[in-house]
């Protein structure tokens, strides 16, 4: 086996040194009759070429986003990732290192995380951010549980504009919390402030919403705070924060979101990177790892994992979360891409995304029978189509156009004729024209 350096002679020598005859003499604690005899009923090992062939065949059966017009978003976005990002994250010292518990030989990762935390805090307009969560959906559920700990209340009001799968994750994971989910809100008509009372721990609002609408968080934050509740602000498209007011400037207490769209590929849903930011005063209830600045024995500036007494490896059943492994390498991709962009690049990128989405919305709105539901949006919006959205999307796919996400695929309670459509800087004018033409021609 090409990955195993020990030779037959090495093994024999080692067994002699240990004082046993065979390697199975080391497995004597396995209960009688339970040691696997021979080999598992699985294929034998294969050469690199052979594995590459087999997996390339499987990959070839999928329609890659880049293989034609592509308008799928709804929580994951196809953006351009600069070549240098993927090169740097494959540096052995980043790729093949563990969690930076031994700070003296992990300053690379720790400084990167410190910079990542600073970028996320600034992007969201919050005071502090952690070193990442698994993804936006799990970060949102963790935010709800954190809000419950902070307020000692056990109700969460969830906006009908929240990504339906995020809502499902809160519902599943937030043990002991009663989740009051408002109905699906494709037209941005809900009055969530009216649902807040003094039993509510937090109100969870996404902007841009799952349907693409932009929501003014300020009055919601005000209503939440008046009732002693917290505002958890959610975003699934981090690039939007280059163009719209950040949650921190609008009164959010916890801002969480998906960071995939900066630096990370679509990957069929993972690995992604959850962003989690809050106010300084709440930091001791925050889940996840934190990198903090300190000095070494010679007075040199350095970084360590800090406030670990919140975490499971120290606090066990009293920890703020059970999270251990996070999304380190995806956070690295995020922070490298963000460093390359800087404020200037991010603003321009966001502007271009908005432009492409506006052009797409205008083109689709001109298709007979199709209407755009949004007055406001960033880079995605919702259209109403004649007939069943799922069928329309399938028909478009037959024309090699991936036209968006039928809302009913995620939320059966929502109307069946809605498609969430996204455009990014990757979307070309030709893509838009082709989409409009084919959509108009569907019978």
């Amino acid at each position: 086996m090409r990955y195993h350096p020990l030779t037959a002679d090495d093994r024999a020598l080692m067994l002699r040194s240990i004082g046993v005859d065979t390697v199975d003499d080391l497995f004597t604690d396995v209960p009688a009759g339970h040691l696997v005899e021979g080999l598992l009923d699985l294929p034998k090992g294969r050469s690199e070429i052979s594995v590459e062939r087999a997996l390339s065949r499987m990959a070839g059966r999928n329609r890659a986003a880049g293989a034609g017009p592509f308008f799928v978003g709804a929580g994951a976005y196809r953006h351009h990732v600069p070549a240098s990002v993927d090169h740097l994250i494959q540096r052995s010292e980043f790729l093949t290192s563990y969690t930076p518990y031994q700070a003296e030989i992990s300053q690379g990762t720790l400084q990167v995380l410190f910079e990542f935390q600073t970028q996320v805090a600034r992007l969201t307009g919050m005071e502090v951010a952690n070193a990442s969560m698994y993804d936006g959906s799990t970060a949102t559920a963790e935010a709800v549980m954190m809000a419950s700990r902070l307020t000692r209340r056990t109700r969460a009001v969830v906006s009908g504009g929240l990504h339906p799968q995020y809502r499902d994750v809160i519902d599943t994971v937030a043990t002991g919390i009663e989740v009051a989910a408002l109905p699906a809100d494709p037209t941005n008509a809900e009055d969530i402030a009216a649902a807040i009372d003094d039993t509510v721990a937090c109100v969870v609002v996404q902007t841009p919403t799952f349907y693409g609408h932009l929501v003014d968080l300020a009055p919601i934050a005000e209503a939440a705070h008046a009732a002693g509740a917290l505002l958890v602000a959610v975003f699934t498209e981090a690039v939007a924060l280059g163009a719209i007011e950040p949650p921190g400037a609008l009164g959010a207490d916890i801002a969480v979101g998906e960071g995939q769209s900066i630096g990370n590929a679509l990957n069929f849903g993972g690995p992604y990177v959850g962003l989690f930011a809050t106010k300084k005063k709440h930091v001791r209830q925050m889940p996840g790892r934190l990198s903090g600045e300190t000095v070494d024995a010679d007075g040199k500036r350095g970084y360590v994992l800090t406030l670990s007494t919140r975490e499971q490896h120290i606090r066990r059943d009293k920890a703020t979360s059970n999270i251990c492994t996070n999304s380190g390498l995806c956070a690295l991709a995020f922070t490298i891409h963000m460093t390359l962009l800087g404020e200037k690049g991010l603003s321009r990128l966001a502007h271009l995304n908005h432009a492409r989405a506006c052009a797409t919305a205008d083109a689709l709105a001109r298709v007979p029978g199709v209407s755009v539901l949004n007055d406001t949006f960033f880079n995605e919006f919702t259209i109403r189509v004649p007939g069943e959205a799922e069928r329309v999307v399938e028909r478009l796919a037959e024309w090699n156009i991936l036209g968006g996400v039928p809302v009913s695929r995620l939320d059966p309670s929502a109307p069946g004729d809605l498609i969430v459509v996204a455009a990014t800087e990757m979307t070309t004018e030709e893509d838009i024209a082709e989409y409009a033409e084919v959509l108009g021609g569907l019978k």
Binding site: D10, V30, P31, L35, V36, D41, K44, E48, E52, A54, M58, N62, R63, A64, A65, A74, S84, S92, F94, T96, T99, P100, I105, S106, Q111, T118, Q119, R122, A129, Q165, L241, A243, P246, L266, N267, F268, V295, D296, A297, Y303, T306, Q312, A319, N322, N326, C330, T339, L341, G342, K344, G345, L349, H351, C358, A361, E394, A397, L402, V405, R409
Partner: protein, 502 residues
């Protein structure tokens, strides 16, 4: 402190923060300017500046390459972190995960356009079930702790389906912190089970704690003392007898792949850390992937999304059919596809023969270290064979004034990443060493010689070699107390600059 003008030492180059070198008007990405258009941002357009500095591409390359050189890594040397399984990460796996047909597909594009992705998930599920002897697998958990959550929620759902409520989860004291944290997150009361003198859990100790209020036991096997639990089957039987379930923590699966099947031993649910056993890279702390395999009794409760035997993907709980009772959804989308590809590439490369060889070599290496070090370091549980890791404690340092921490830091100066320290909690000053199957014999021998030399120094009273260590790393020991007392978690410009800006 430094002999050079710059403070740098040849290849070791100091690198400031991007916030100290970058500028908000600098960018390393050229973005096309669109033609004029009518904005739909309404009144929501950003007014608040972000204050995000940028760097050009060459500056970015240098920044991250210089930082990378301050990290230890598997590709640099032996990384003997017990229970973390820092094995070689084959680059074929990286290449495969980057094929556009895997990396450039969207989780919500029509399923009819991604048959190859579903095929890969089905194939991975088959390998995982065959290796563990289990019935079903929930692929979506994002990491080990997330897998624990999945397995324990399946157990909770199964208990509820029987019309019962149970409030207690048993966790041996040698367990990873994630076990009690997971049980507590689900509202369970955690009761600890003491280990025996020999580092294993006895069926009697478990039986004493079992009652109609116990929902499950969470048991790591091989355990974190590096031992295979000899009474695991009897424990499973007792747990089942009491109407409870057996959650197996699969963190140490690397010792027994191809040697023993958890399903045969009575496990009802077990997460598998693809980032440990199946070598998806640790990436400085993640991402991981923690599929959970389920016994026949728990299979109906698998969360969405799940794959049916016929290869169809069930995405919503309301799509569940006869006999399917998903407990909910743990994450948006379908889990860590990028990790599935890497893990399957690893499995296919090894095959049944290579997987068995990996376990055997890993166990052999750990026992070899144990045999070669037993006379100079204290093996905590010498009487049983070690599995893929071997536990030492600090009794061999007694009277030397040197602690496990000091010993670990001295290893850094010798070019090694320290072993897992102070875990498990069942011995004083634990040193948990896991060499993995990736080390050659000369590499193991040099590591042994180094540890023997350190042990000799400790015996001879050369305490400075330890208490002053590390002396040669990019940093000396860092002040953790200061960082926790007054946390600085984001960059703040120095005060004079702030004043000038205001």
């Amino acid at each position: 402190m430094s002999d050079t003008f710059t403070g740098n030492k040849a290849l070791e180059i100091h690198e400031p923060l991007i916030f100290e070198t970058g500028h908000v008007a600098t960018t390393g990405v050229d973005v096309e300017e669109p033609a004029a258009f009518e904005s739909r941002l309404g009144g929501h357009a950003r007014k608040t500046p972000i204050d995000l500095p940028g760097l050009t591409e060459p500056e970015t390359m240098r920044h991250y390459v210089r930082l990378s050189r301050q990290n230890y890594a598997i590709d640099l040397g032996l990384y003997p972190l017990g229970s973390c399984t820092m094995k070689h990460n084959p680059r074929l796996n990286e290449k495969m995960a980057r094929l556009p047909g895997f990396a450039d597909i969207h989780p919500l594009q029509p399923l009819s356009t991604v048959p190859g992705a579903l095929e890969l998930m089905q194939e991975l599920s088959h390998w995982l079930c065959a290796m563990t002897g289990m019935t079903a697998v929930a692929l979506s958990p994002k990491a080990g702790a997330h897998g624990e959550l999945a397995g324990m929620m399946a157990i909770r759902a199964a208990i509820a389906a029987k019309g019962e409520t149970r409030h207690v989860v048993l966790v041996p004291e040698s367990a990873h912190g994630t076990n009690p944290a997971t049980a507590a997150a689900l509202g369970y009361k955690v009761e600890s089970i003491k280990a025996r003198e020999d580092g294993t859990v006895s069926v009697e100790a478990v039986k004493e704690k079992l009652s109609a209020d116990v929902a499950a036991i969470m048991l790591t096997n091989p355990n974190t003392c590096g031992l295979f639990e000899p009474e695991v089957k009897a424990i499973a039987d007792a747990v089942h007898e009491a109407g409870a379930y057996f959650y197996g923590d699969g963190a140490n699966f690397n010792a027994i792949v191809g040697k023993a099947k958890p399903g045969d031993l009575g496990v009802d649910a077990m997460h598998i850390n693809l980032h440990k056993t199946f070598s998806t890279p640790h990436g400085g702390g993640g991402p991981g992937s923690g599929p959970v395999v389920l016994s026949e009794r728990l299979a109906p409760f698998a969360p969405v999304p799940f794959l049916r035997a016929d290869g169809t993907l069930v995405e919503r709980a309301d799509e569940a059919g006869e006999g399917e009772m998903p407990f909910g959804r743990l994450t948006a989308f379908h889990g860590q596809m990028g990790m599935y590809v890497r893990a399957l590439a690893y499995m296919m490369s090894h095959g049944a023969d290579g997987l068995k060889e990996a376990s055997e070599d890993a166990v052999l290496a750990a026992n070899y270290l144990k045999a070669q070090l037993a006379d100079v370091m204290s093996v905590s549980f010498p009487d049983r064979p070690a599995m893929h890791e071997v536990l030492f404690d600090e009794s061999f340092l007694k009277g030397s004034g040197i602690t496990t921490l000091d010993f670990a830091k001295a290893m850094i100066d010798e070019g090694y990443h320290p072993m897992t320290m102070y875990f498990p909690l069942v011995v004083h000053g634990a040193m948990l060493i896991e060499p993995t199957e990736s080390e050659s014999l000369p590499s193991l021998d040099l590591f042994i010689a180094t540890l023997r030399d350190l042990a000799r120094s400790a015996r001879e009273g050369d305490t400075a070699r330890f208490t002053e260590a590390p002396r040669l790393a990019p940093r000396r020991r860092l002040d953790e107390t200061k960082s926790a007392r007054k946390p600085v978690l984001t960059y703040e410009p120095p005060a004079p600059y702030q004043e000038a800006a205001e």
